[in-house]
């Protein structure tokens, strides 16, 4: 199994611990792991699409920025691409790709709160709802990953900020 799959499995395991009285630590780590599962899935796919040299991929993977990736997801989540992206794809944004983009944005925010906002409590339904969305995003990615617009999405994750200049 890949790192992304392992992280998602770990997240689901943590969220299912002590179902009647889950520990905040378990729920918080579950959300954090679920975010990084999706993050690493997309980084792996993006570097594979961008870089032929396997050794170079590791280095390129460190160039991705969380905040920039969230911004890059926005037009895909909304299903409304800017002109420069519409110019390089004939497709409208498939629902599966919208799902991947919106789940990434949501989980990034939730991960930030899970890791840093100790004033906020997490409930089991909230956590399991988020994990169901990440699992759904993995499945959606599996269906859409071979489409040309999926490659546009991946490259945009790294270059959106530069293209916006």
């Amino acid at each position: 199994m890949s790192l992304a799959d392992d992280l998602l499995e770990q997240a689901e395991h943590l969220a299912q611990r002590d179902p009647t009285r889950p520990k905040q630590a378990s729920l918080r780590r579950a959300i954090s792991s679920a975010y990084y599962a999706l993050f690493h899935l997309l980084i792996r796919e993006a570097t594979a699409a961008l870089v032929a040299d396997a050794r170079l991929r590791e280095l390129v993977s460190r160039a991705f920025d969380h905040g920039e990736m969230k911004q890059a997801c926005r037009p895909f989540a909304a299903g409304a691409l800017p002109d420069h992206l519409r110019a390089v794809t004939d497709a409208t944004v498939p629902n599966d790709l919208r799902t991947v983009a919106e789940v990434f944005a949501q989980l990034q925010q939730s991960r930030h709160e899970a890791d840093y906002n100790v004033a906020r409590g997490f409930s089991r339904p909230d956590t399991l709802g988020l994990l169901a969305r990440v699992r759904g995003a993995f499945e959606a990615w599996g269906r859409v990953r071979t489409q040309q617009i999926a490659t546009v999405f991946l490259v945009n994750l790294l270059l959106a900020k530069k293209w916006a200049r």
Binding site: G67, K70, Q71, R74, A77, A78, G79, A80, N95, R98, T99, E102, V103, A105, Q106, Q108, Q109, S110, H112, E113, A119, R120, G121, S123, R124, P125, D126, L128, G129, L130, A132, R133, G136
Partner: protein, 192 residues
């Protein structure tokens, strides 16, 4: 509970009960009415912790209701108190946008699954400073988060929220939070 928290609790109540506040002649029976009854600890019980005459009135009502579900007459009395509190507060900047998002969320979600009691919306910024809309989903306490119905609802929620914010003409990033009645009613709980 300070003044800000009371105002926030009244706004949450206004959002949860909006069908009956905006249309007082709406039939007081059926699924929406029963949702309002199940959500009473939040829209009626939380503002009752505030200070002032409206909170006092709600507190007296909450004491009469006790642990059981409120009767139709008690719900009607609570709605009346909530309506006067909401009218006294008036609108703040952003309330109209939040209401438009909520209305669009309800249209996008359509028929609510039985475990969903209602929605609330607050406008804020996210971790990176981008304007965002938090959509709070209030769930019944007995919601089974392991059920297929719950998973399906959760998976579809994100797209509904994006569709709704776009339909409402908002450029905010929509985020969701799910909480149960008990979570929302707990003293010191982060109120929507």
């Amino acid at each position: 509970m300070n003044g800000y928290e009371f105002a926030r609790a009244v706004r949450t109540g206004r959002n949860l009960a909006h069908r009956f506040l905006s249309a007082p002649s709406a039939p007081r029976a059926g699924a929406d009415w029963e949702r309002l009854r199940a959500a009473a600890p939040v829209w009626l019980g939380v503002p009752a912790r505030g200070a002032g005459p409206t909170a006092q009135r709600l507190r007296a009502l909450a004491a009469r209701i006790g642990d059981g579900p409120p009767t139709d007459a008690e719900l009607a009395e609570g709605l009346e108190a909530l309506a006067s509190a909401a009218a006294a507060l008036g609108d703040e900047p952003g309330d109209a946008e939040a209401r438009a998002i909520l209305a669009a969320v309800e249209r996008a979600v359509g028929t609510l699954p039985p475990f969903v009691l209602g929605f609330d919306c607050t406008l804020d910024t996210d971790w990176s400073g981008d304007p965002c809309a938090w959509v709070w989903v209030l769930l019944r306490d007995d919601t089974d988060p392991d059920s297929e119905e719950f998973r399906t609802f959760s998976r579809e929620l994100g797209r509904h929220l994006w569709d709704a914010t776009l339909a409402a003409g908002s450029a905010r990033i929509p985020y969701s939070r799910l909480h149960t009645v008990s979570d929302a009613f707990a003293p010191g709980a982060e109120v929507a």
